[in-house]
């Protein structure tokens, strides 16, 4: 493969910045000229994938466009129609495929996403709130001066719990493990992060073309991409989803079912919480450590994503429908994982909204009004996905593995926390015959997470940004 040019790829694509503060600004272009002018001004500020030799900068800037944004930029029609159809349609039009129905249907989304005026995503990540505000002030002055409209901004940031910065989300799970490794993208690879080799044990990076346009993918093909090639190469597609978390519903559900779980484990409630996701809430994979959390595993990159399901076909350690097993089945479908290599996605995300600590007695029943208050607080996760092909990667995972269970022989069961549940559904915890690990069917499933909006974006290379800004995109 060719060596990647990190200075041509937006830094947000190549790595998670691991910065605690972020603000995602959403822009509307009133006309192509002002939008191109803004892009030209922004170009020098866009953070690339180049290594930070002097340590992390105070803040970063990245930009991506919806299809409507590219149309507003007046890209040539021959270029516009060459984008994949799901990107042209946008996420709202894909609601039925994605299971974004019921409470998650577009008519319930935030006004920003219902109206469909978003043309660009301008992301700032920062080390401190002060650095975030400073960069935001600078950028919003620039945006306003060009006549481009700043529609809205979404703040997000690492949760501070007991005075400590964490990588937890509002339900209490430690997040951010297990992004895939790609050839040429990662300096070092981590076991469990790429694809499983035929020996069933060793992991190797996935083909670059699973993440970046312009490179061969796992099928040895170039991903479907717009013309000209230079507009697409080193770019990728991004999914932005604002996922509201119903914290009261989650805590009440966990307490209710923990009381019925019947595990003799010292901490049956935590064990049950771990069965929902496939990791203990401290991050320990239950496939590696089913009986208790183990910080030694969590902290060791050689261990915290290195596991397979081949020896756990019955799901007695990690339930077959647990979140991590659904979205990355590893070897669970046989063939040494070959069936999953074209369905991997890179996730970037941060929580938003205030964290509410657990009450002094976390097992005390919650009143209906306490549940309602916890649920109605505006908080959740800004969930972002990067992948070369929206339909083959993100949409497949969301439709087949989150919203359906057939591949895992689970019939219509959905992901417990992310699924849009209907009456009569259940979540199965297989367990075994030991007292500490009983089976359980959870029923009357509420909706833990609600989609509040989002869209599909094209995240171009630095070269492509310059071409767009200078009106040089030529599909011929």
């Amino acid at each position: 493969m060719s060596k990647l040019n990190a200075t041509d790829i937006q830094g947000f694509v190549l790595r998670g910045y691991n910065m605690p503060c972020a603000r995602f600004c959403f822009l509307h272009f009133p006309d192509a000229k002002s939008a191109r002018h803004l892009l030209g001004q922004l170009l020098p500020a866009v953070t690339t994938g180049q290594l930070w030799e002097g340590g992390k900068p105070q803040s970063t800037v990245n930009i991506a466009f919806t299809f409507k944004g590219l149309a507003a930029l007046e890209l040539p029609i021959a270029t516009l129609i060459s984008f994949p159809v799901e990107f042209q349609q946008g996420m709202k039009a894909r609601a039925n495929i994605l299971g974004d129905t019921g409470k998650n249907a577009p008519e319930h989304w935030d006004e920003l996403w219902r109206e469909g005026h978003v043309h660009a995503w301008l992301a700032i990540h920062a080390l401190t709130p002060a650095a975030l505000d400073a960069r935001h002030a600078e950028l919003s002055a620039l945006v306003t001066s060009t006549g481009v409209r700043l529609l809205d901004a979404q703040d997000a940031g690492s949760l501070v719990i007991d005075g400590q910065l964490t990588t937890k989300e509002h339900f209490g799970y430690t997040d951010g493990f297990g992004n895939p490794d790609y050839l040429g993208v990662c300096r070092s690879t981590q076991p469990g992060q790429g694809k499983l080799l035929p020996d069933g044990k060793t992991w190797a990076p996935l083909a670059t073309g699973e993440l970046l346009l312009g490179y061969a993918d796992e099928a040895g093909e170039l991903p479907v991409a717009p013309v000209p090639h230079i507009l697409a190469a080193n770019g990728t597609f991004m999914v932005y989803r604002k996922l509201h978390e119903n914290v009261g519903t989650y805590r009440n559900f966990l307490n209710t079912w923990a009381a019925r779980y019947g595990s003799s484990s010292d901490d049956a409630k935590e064990k049950l919480a771990s069965k929902f996701i496939g990791r203990w809430r401290d991050g320990t994979p239950i496939e590696s450590s089913p009986d208790a959390p183990d910080q030694a595993i969590v902290k060791d990159p050689n261990l915290n994503t290195d596991f397979t399901y081949g020896a756990d076909a019955s799901g007695s350690r990690c339930p077959i429908g647990a979140h991590v097993r659904r979205v990355h089945p590893r070897d669970a479908f046989g063939f040494n994982g070959k069936l999953v290599n074209r369905r991997r996605i890179t996730r970037r995300g941060l929580p938003y909204g205030p964290y509410t600590p657990e009450p002094p007695d976390p097992n005390a029943p919650l009143t209906q009004s306490e549940i309602a208050t916890l649920d109605s607080t505006d908080r959740g996760v800004v969930f972002m996905v990067l992948n070369a092909c929206l339909s083959r990667q993100f949409e497949f995972v969301q439709q087949q593995w989150i919203s359906y269970g057939n591949d895992a022989h689970l019939g219509n069961e959905k992901d417990l926390l992310l699924g849009t549940h209907k009456e009569g559904e259940r979540f199965s915890i297989q367990g075994d015959a030991t007292a500490a690990n009983p089976p359980l069917f959870c029923t009357a499933l509420p909706n833990f997470v609600e989609l509040r909006g989002g869209d599909y974006f094209f995240l171009p290379s630095i070269t492509a940004l310059a071409m767009i800004a200078r009106e040089l995109v030529d599909p011929r």
């Binding site: 019947g262 439709q399 019939g411 219509n412 549940h421 209907k422 559904e425 089976p439 359980l440 029923t443």
Partner: protein, 204 residues
């Protein structure tokens, strides 16, 4: 072995469609028109007649010329393609269709050359055998279970899941009593009709 995988059969028939320049609309269009109105669920002829796992009817117009260096070739007629995954070989399977849904067979196949009609099952079987081509490799949704066994298994799976969900944690002696009574009830249930098992909370 061609045409069979486990206890499931994969049968393929290519029936030439009448080439009558005077027919308007043409016979292939009349087949397409009729097929487009067929129910695909409980009212489907393949749900009404016994023993079909999956079936597909399609009109094949011609081979498509994909451009040079391929050679331009054409079929001598249009064909009705009938592919089916079913529980028995041609003879009993076609007799089952002829007895359960003769009106559908006639409505579709009357547009095919040499079709003898569904009323005479022996002639119909001979006709279909003449049109059959070997099916060497096919997709079987379920390899070794009949349609009846599959439907009963789905019914059992749903009932057992419901039983567990509503009885888990129950005191053992009572659980055993209720389980034994549940098993008796379940055994007494008739095989559900095709398309009658509605998945709970189904995604589509």
């Amino acid at each position: 072995m061609s045409n069979q995988n486990g206890s499931v059969f994969g049968l393929t028939f290519l029936c030439p469609i009448l080439n009558d320049a005077a027919a308007s609309p043409s016979h292939d269009l009349q087949i397409r028109d009729y097929l487009s109105t067929l129910d695909t669920r409980a009212g489907s002829p393949f749900a009404i007649a016994p023993g079909t796992h999956l079936a597909r009817l399609a009109v094949m117009d011609d081979v498509i010329f994909v451009g040079s260096p391929a050679i331009e070739e054409h079929l001598q007629s249009k064909y009705l393609v009938f592919e089916t995954n079913c529980d028995s070989d041609v003879d009993p399977y076609i007799r089952g269709l002829a007895s359960a849904v003769p009106e559908h067979l006639d409505a579709v196949w009357q547009h095919c050359t040499g079709y003898p009609g569904a009323a005479d099952a022996t002639k119909l079987v001979a006709y279909m055998k003449a049109c059959q081509i070997p099916t060497s490799f096919f997709f079987a949704a379920v390899n070794n279970k009949s349609v009846t066994q599959t439907l009963t298994a789905l019914q059992t799976q749903q009932a057992v899941a419901h039983f567990i969900a509503s009885h888990q944690g129950m005191e053992p002696a009572q659980l055993q009593r209720e389980f034994l009574s549940f098993v008796q009830t379940l055994r007494a249930l008739p095989c559900p009709a095709p398309c009658s098992i509605i998945p709970t909370g189904g995604p589509r």
